[in-house]
Subunit: 194 residues, 3 copies
């Protein structure tokens, strides 16, 4: 399929863009960034030096993914999402880069702010407009400022409902696709509910 780069985008030499990926208007991909196959990088999005992005990832319009962020396959980074890589930024002086990981299939809703040094677990979901200050477990749905664990969600996006205990885990079933997911008790107990 090749790579599509809109004529107004800036893709620096020394970046690697996978087959089938599209880079849209006014986006900027820095040297040393690696973007996988069949990704979509939206209007005015930014991919920093050394960022690693997997396959089939969507980077929404105006999202900013800075140096130190790694994003696995099939993650969804919503429009206007911003990552950070410095806990106490100052304009002058030294600083220490702090890394952040977005695991396979995780979704980050529009305009969320992701503090650094955390991991967003597989298939988790961050509600739009959230400020994420802590790790998010696999399948966790978090939202708010600061974001709190409010629900568990399926890889399809449906709400998971607890049906029974099974040793060290809670068995949950998706209200949409009926898939079964096991959530460890130690994770389930972090739920803040409504």
């Amino acid at each position: 399929m090749g790579v599509f780069i809109h004529e107004t985008a800036t893709v620096e030499k020394g970046s690697v863009i996978g087959d089938g990926t599209k880079i849209w208007h006014y986006a900027h991909v820095r040297k040393g960034a690696v973007v996988g196959k069949n990704c979509n990088v939206g209007h005015c999005a930014y991919i920093g030096t050394g960022v690693k992005i997997g396959d089939r990832v969507k980077i929404g319009n105006k999202a900013s993914v800075f140096q130190g962020i790694e994003i696995e396959n099939e993650a969804f980074i919503g429009p206007h999402v911003v990552f950070t890589n410095d806990n106490r930024p100052r304009s002058v002086g030294d600083w220490k880069l702090i890394k952040t990981y977005v695991k396979k299939g995780a979704s980050i809703g529009s305009n969320s702010t992701i503090l650094c040094g955390i991991t967003l677990g597989e298939n988790c979901m961050v509600g739009a407009g959230s400020v994420v200050t802590d790790d998010v477990p696999e399948h966790g749905l978090v939202y708010g400022n600061p974001a709190r664990l409010m629900e568990f969600v399926c890889s399809c996006g449906g709400t998971l409902k607890a049906v029974r205990k099974a040793g060290n885990a809670v068995v949950m079933v998706c209200s949409e696709c009926k898939k079964t997911v096991k959530i460890p008790n130690s994770v389930f107990d972090k739920l803040e509910g409504v």
Copy 2:
């Protein structure tokens, strides 16, 4: 007056731009979008496919208005505002577009996030930095994350003060322009106040 499109902007064929409207630097208007007369579309703003925007609307710098959003005359969409059109976004699989309506004269403060499936009523106002998760009534002022109904505001932006009951409504007067506005009791009672 004609249409002004800055030379760095991208306005796709198949969009309709009304007389007197200005499209500024690095903005992107997609095919199938309809933008009314005497509008202003700011730096890096995005207007998606099929979006309908009325007359005398301001779309601030870097605001993103996606497919499924309809905006009536004289609305103000602040800088960095982002709309959504998918409740549970995932990078792969089907999704269902959910519509959002911004009524005549409504204002959305800078950097607010508007969840989908809701209506922002006539002359309402959303405070800057809010996350709006529910309908906003006519003349309602909401803010916070999630946004809550904190006050009523006049079309001029002034605070409305309750002066008396009149059957099924509360009569309110603007502290700035002295205009009288009637708010139904059922709406007035949703006020969370301070």
Copy 3:
């Protein structure tokens, strides 16, 4: 050193850009703006008419600094930060510009929203994703929506710990660089803590 302006940026005639300053991709600097020396203006950032910015200031990617904002030396304006200059914006009718001041060495975390009419004090810090609705004192660390005073921070970014009272002030010492800072009692008492 000269001024670097990326070929995709728009810097209007009638703006003043200091020596050693870099203006990056798709940024827009309006006429009448004054940007100091050795500043960095990121991807898609916007500097409005009449804005005054000191030396060694970082303006992050997609930050918007509108007319009426003044920023002193060594301030850090994070990515996606947006300022406002109108308390009750409407699309039509008159409006009154309200000014905002960012003092020397202040830092504003990514994606924060700064309401107008306030002052961010010297060396203060605003946590990422905050909505700032009130003045921030010197060395104050605020965060949340609305932002609240949670801690005091050193010019190096380290946490300041109270060690003793000294008349009208509290003597604090930086947990990182061991510098001593005096915070007036009247300011210290505004702390909301955790």
